[in-house]
C-alpha cells in the first residue's frame, strides 16, 4: 500500500498550478467572466503545449499515455483555479473517439486534439427524467449506408465552441427502442444541425442546446465496430466524466475553504480574530473534514479506474458514483460555509466566492442530480430495483 502521489505526479501538479497561476489567475478569470470573454486561444495552445489535451491518450496519437491518477493532478488544479474553457468536453469526447472510433477517425481527430487544433463536445445526457445516455428524445434510425439522427439535447457543455460533436443516440425510432445506445461523430456544420448557445449560471462552463433534424450520418461515423459497443463506451466515458468532475470539485472546494480560513485568521470582531470563535472554527473544521473526505475517496476512485484488474470491493461504476455523490455534497457544503465565514462581502459580485458557488451548483446539476448517483450506489450494492423502474 502506498497512498502518496509519486514524484512525477507531484511535478505534474506543481507545473499545472504554476501554469494556471500565470496564464489564468483567479482575478483574470473573474475579469473574463465580467466581460463574458471566453478562454483566450493562446491559453488553450499553452495547455496543448503542456500536453494536457492528450494527457490520457496513447502516444500513438501524440498523447502522453498518463494514468487517471496522473491526470487527476491537473484536474484538481483546474478546479482550484476555476479554469474556464471546454477542457472536460474535449477530454471526454476524445476519449469516446479513442474507445469506440474506427482507426481512420482516431487518426484524423486525436492528434489534432492533442495539438490544440480541435475543440470537441460530448452530447450524451439529456432531459426528460433520464440522465443516462439511454434516456431522452434522441434517435438514430438506420438507413442505407448510415443513419438518420433526430432529436434534441438541452444543455451540452462546450457545444458552441466544438469543431466536432460526439452524440449519444438511441438506436431505432421512438416506437421501437430496443437496440440500445450508440455514439456518432457529427460535424456541426452539416445541414440539419441546429446549435443555440445559452446563457449559463457559470460563464466558464458554456452550454448550448442541440437539435438534429434528420441529419444523415454515414456509417463510418459510428463509434464502435458495431452499434452494440455503445453501452461500454458510455459506461467508461461517464466514469471518466464523473471522476474528472469530482477532482474539479476537490480543487475548487479546497480553494474556497482556504479563502475563508485565511479571512477568519485576520478579520477581527469583538476584539478577536473571528477564527478564534467556535461558531466559525467549527464551520472551518467541517469544510476541511468534507474536503479531506472527498480527497480520500477521489484518490481511491482514480486508483480503481486505473487498475488493470478490477478492485475487490468496487466496480468502476460504483467508484464513479460514490466519488460524484461525495463531490456534489462536499462542494455545496464548502461554498455555503465559506460564504457564511466571509460574511456579506461573499455575496457581492466583487468577491470571488460566487464563482465557486456557481461552479459547485453547475457541476452538481450536470449529468444528473445527487439522487441519480445514489441510485447507482444502491444498485451496485445489491439494492437493485426491478427492471423498468430503473433510471434517474
Amino acid at each position: 500500500m502506498d497512498l502518496r502521489y509519486d514524484e512525477n505526479q507531484i511535478l505534474i501538479q506543481d507545473q499545472a498550478r504554476e501554469f494556471i497561476a500565470r496564464e489564468s489567475p483567479l482575478e483574470q478569470v473573474h475579469e473574463w467572466r465580467r466581460s463574458e470573454t471566453p478562454l483566450p486561444g493562446p491559453v488553450w495552445q499553452g495547455m496543448a503545449a503542456m500536453g494536457w489535451l492528450g494527457a490520457i491518450l496513447p502516444e500513438d496519437y501524440g498523447g502522453m499515455g498518463l494514468s487517471l491518477t496522473d491526470l487527476s493532478r491537473i484536474l484538481e488544479e483546474m478546479g482550484r483555479g476555476l479554469l474556464p474553457g471546454p477542457f472536460l468536453p474535449t477530454l471526454t469526447a476524445a476519449h469516446a473517439v479513442l474507445l469506440g472510433g474506427p482507426q481512420e477517425m482516431r487518426r484524423r481527430i486525436l492528434p489534432a486534439v492533442v495539438q490544440g487544433q480541435l475543440h470537441l463536445a460530448l452530447a450524451r445526457t439529456q432531459e426528460g427524467g433520464r440522465f443516462d445516455a439511454m434516456g431522452g428524445r434522441f434517435f438514430a434510425d438506420s438507413t442505407e449506408g448510415g443513419y438518420l439522427l433526430f432529436g434534441e439535447k438541452l444543455a451540452v457543455p462546450g457545444l458552441a465552441e466544438a469543431d466536432h460533436i460526439v452524440v449519444a443516440a438511441v438506436l431505432g425510432l421512438p416506437e421501437k427502442i430496443d437496440e440500445g445506445v450508440a455514439f456518432f461523430l457529427i460535424d456541426p456544420k452539416v445541414t440539419g444541425v441546429v446549435i443555440e448557445p445559452l446563457r449559463t449560471l457559470d460563464g466558464g462552463w458554456t452550454q448550448a442546446s442541440l437539435r438534429l433534424d434528420a441529419v444523415r450520418v454515414p456509417a463510418y461515423r459510428l463509434l464502435g465496430e458495431n452499434p452494440g459497443q455503445g453501452p461500454s463506451v458510455n459506461e467508461r466515458v461517464s466514469a471518466l466524466l464523473d471522476l474528472s468532475l469530482a477532482f474539479d470539485a476537490l480543487g475548487g472546494a479546497q480553494h474556497a475553504m482556504e479563502i475563508a480560513v485565511e479571512y477568519a485568521k485576520v478579520r477581527t470582531a469583538f476584539g478577536q480574530p473571528i477564527g478564534s470563535y467556535q461558531a466559525i472554527k467549527h464551520k472551518c473544521a467541517d469544510m476541511l473534514h468534507a474536503v479531506e473526505s472527498l480527497r480520500a475517496i477521489a484518490m481511491w476512485a482514480a486508483w480503481v479506474m486505473d487498475a488493470s484488474e478490477p478492485a475487490q470491493d468496487a466496480t468502476p461504476a460504483l467508484a464513479a458514483a460514490m466519488v460524484r455523490a461525495t463531490a456534489i455534497e462536499t462542494y455545496d457544503l464548502v461554498v455555503r460555509h465559506a460564504t457564511q465565514v466571509l460574511g456579506a462581502i461573499a455575496c457581492t459580485e466583487e468577491h470571488v466566492m460566487h464563482l465557486f458557488a456557481k461552479r459547485a451548483k453547475t457541476l452538481s446539476l450536470a449529468f444528473g442530480p445527487l439522487a441519480y448517483y445514489q441510485e447507482i450506489i444502491l444498485r451496485e450494492n445489491g439494492f437493485g430495483i426491478s427492471a423498468g423502474s430503473q433510471g434517474g
Binding site: 497512498l3 485568521k265 477564527g275 472554527k281 473526505s293 475517496i297 455523490a325
Partner: protein, 404 residues
C-alpha cells in the same frame, strides 16, 4: 498510488483466517449464556486472549520483546478486521490495547513495559483509563483529582467518571494533579494505578439503554509506588495528549464499529432491495446510499492514518476525522434502522414480533454517546481547525494560567 496490501500482507491475512477457522469451533463449543455474568465474561475473555497471545495474534505491531509480533500497524489492522470484529469473546481490554498500553510502550520505562505489556497480552490484566471527572471532560486540564507525595510514593484522592470497563480493570492509567500551584497543564502527572488496591471503589453507571459499560471511580488515599509514574513527574499532560492521539490513531475503533453498522445495512437491504423508489422510501434510499459512501470514505481515511503510522510518524490530528466519521455514521445508521423498522423499532424484549429482541432501539440509545466519548465532536473540531488549519485558540483558552 496503490491501495492493495502487499502479497506478504495478503498471505498474512489468509493465515489469520485459517487460524480463526481452526480455533473458533472450540470457543463456540464452550457454554456461554446470552446474558453472561461478569465472571463468565472475564473467563471467556481471558481464555480467548491467552489463545491469541500464544500465537502472537494480538497487538502484532508491538515488539516481540513485550509480546507483540514485531510486525507493522498494517498487520495489526488486518488482525483487527479478521479477529476482533468477530466478537468471539467480550472485548474487555479494548481501552488497554487501544490507549493505555500503547502509551506505556511509547512513554514508559523499560521496566514498566516489561511489567505491564506482556501481562495484558496474556489476558491476565485488564486496563481502564482514568481521565474524565465530573467537573472535567472536554476541559480535561480542569481535573481536580490530587496526587500528593507520601514518602517515596504518592497518595491519590479524588473521583473519576465515564470509566469504561473499570468494573473489570486490574490497572488504570490515571491523570492527577500533582502540583496545585502550577499552571493547569503543567502540574499534572500520569500514574499507573493498581485498581485492586485499598481505597479504590468502583460504582456502576447505567447508561440510557440499561447497559453497564461506564463507571464512577473513587480514590480514597490510594497509594501509588514511585515507579508507577508514567513519564515525567508533572509532565502528565503530554502523556495524556499522546494517549488520545493513539486512541484516534491505531486503535482501529472504526473497524470495531463495522459489525453494528453492517447490521443496519443488512436490515436496509432486506427492506429496500427490489422495491422501486417511492415517495415513502426515497429519503431512506438516499440515506443508505450516503451511509455506504461515508463508510467507504471512513475506511480510506483509516488507511491514510494507518499508512502514516507504518511510515513511523506519530499519530497526528488526521485521526480526528476517523473519530468524527465513525461516531456520526453510527448515529445516523442506528437512527435509520429505527425508521426502517417503523413502529416495531420502538419494541423491546424477547418476542417474535420484536426484531432481534430489541437490539436496534437499544443500540440506537447507545449511539447517543458516540459523539461525546473518546473526544467530543466539538473538541475534535477545535483540534483540526487549530492544528491543521492554524486557526487561533479562543481567548479563554489562550491563557493556560487562568484561574480554575
Amino acid at each position: 498510488m496503490d491501495f492493495r496490501l502487499t502479497e506478504g500482507q495478503e498471505r498474512y491475512r489468509e493465515a489469520v483466517r485459517h487460524w480463526v477457522a481452526d480455533n473458533i469451533p472450540e470457543m463456540e463449543a464452550l457454554p456461554y449464556p446470552a446474558d453472561p455474568t461478569p465472571e463468565q465474561m472475564r473467563e471467556r475473555y481471558a481464555l480467548w486472549q491467552r489463545k491469541r497471545f500464544d500465537f502472537r495474534l494480538t497487538c502484532v505491531h508491538w515488539p516481540e520483546a513485550v509480546g507483540g509480533a514485531g510486525l507493522t500497524a498494517m498487520e495489526h489492522f488486518i488482525v483487527t478486521e479478521e479477529i476482533d470484529t468477530l466478537n468471539v469473546a467480550p472485548n474487555l481490554n479494548i481501552i488497554g490495547f487501544g490507549m493505555c498500553l500503547p502509551v506505556i510502550l511509547h512513554a514508559g520505562s523499560g521496566e514498566q513495559r516489561n511489567r505491564y505489556i506482556p501481562a495484558a497480552l496474556r489476558g491476565e490484566e485488564i486496563w481502564c483509563q482514568l481521565f474524565s471527572e465530573p467537573g472535567a471532560g472536554s476541559d480535561l486540564a480542569g481535573l481536580t483529582t490530587r496526587a500528593e507525595p507520601d514518602g517515596k510514593g504518592w497518595r491519590v484522592n479524588g473521583q473519576k467518571t465515564w470509566t469504561s470497563y473499570a468494573h473489570f480493570a486490574d490497572r488504570g492509567l490515571c491523570l492527577a494533579r500533582s502540583e496545585s500551584s502550577a499552571s493547569r497543564h503543567r502540574g499534572l502527572t500520569m500514574f499507573l494505578v493498581d485498581m485492586r488496591r485499598e481505597g479504590v471503589s468502583v460504582r456502576p453507571i447505567r447508561i440510557n439503554n440499561g447497559d453497564h459499560v461506564f463507571n464512577e471511580v473513587f480514590f480514597d488515599n490510594v497509594y501509588v509506588e514511585p515507579e508507577d509514574v508514567l513519564g515525567e513527574v508533572h509532565g502528565g499532560w503530554k502523556v495524556a495528549i499522546d494517549t488520545l492521539m493513539f486512541e484516534r490513531g491505531t486503535s482501529n475503533i472504526h473497524i470495531l464499529m463495522r459489525p453494528q453498522i453492517d447490521k443496519v445495512i443488512a436490515l436496509a437491504k432486506e427492506r429496500l432491495a427490489g422495491a422501486a423508489p417511492t415517495l415513502g422510501n426515497q429519503a431512506a434510499r438516499g440515506e443508505i446510499a450516503r451511509l455506504i459512501t461515508r463508510l467507504k470514505v471512513m475506511d480510506i481515511q483509516g488507511l491514510r492514518v494507518l499508512h502514516g503510522a507504518t511510515t513511523g510518524a506519530p499519530p497526528g490530528p488526521e485521526g480526528s476525522f476517523v473519530k468524527l466519521d465513525w461516531s456520526e455514521i453510527n448515529q445516523r445508521a442506528q437512527a435509520l434502522a429505527l425508521d426502517l423498522l417503523g413502529p416495531a423499532g420502538a419494541l423491546l424484549g424477547d418476542n417474535p414480533a420484536v426484531p432481534e429482541g430489541g437490539w436496534f432501539p437499544k443500540n440506537w440509545l447507545r449511539s447517543f454517546a458516540n459523539t461525546i466519548e473518546a473526544g467530543s465532536s466539538e473538541i475534535l473540531r477545535n483540534i483540526v481547525s487549530e492544528r491543521i488549519l492554524g486557526l487561533p485558540k479562543d481567548a479563554q483558552r489562550q491563557n493556560p494560567n487562568r484561574a480554575r
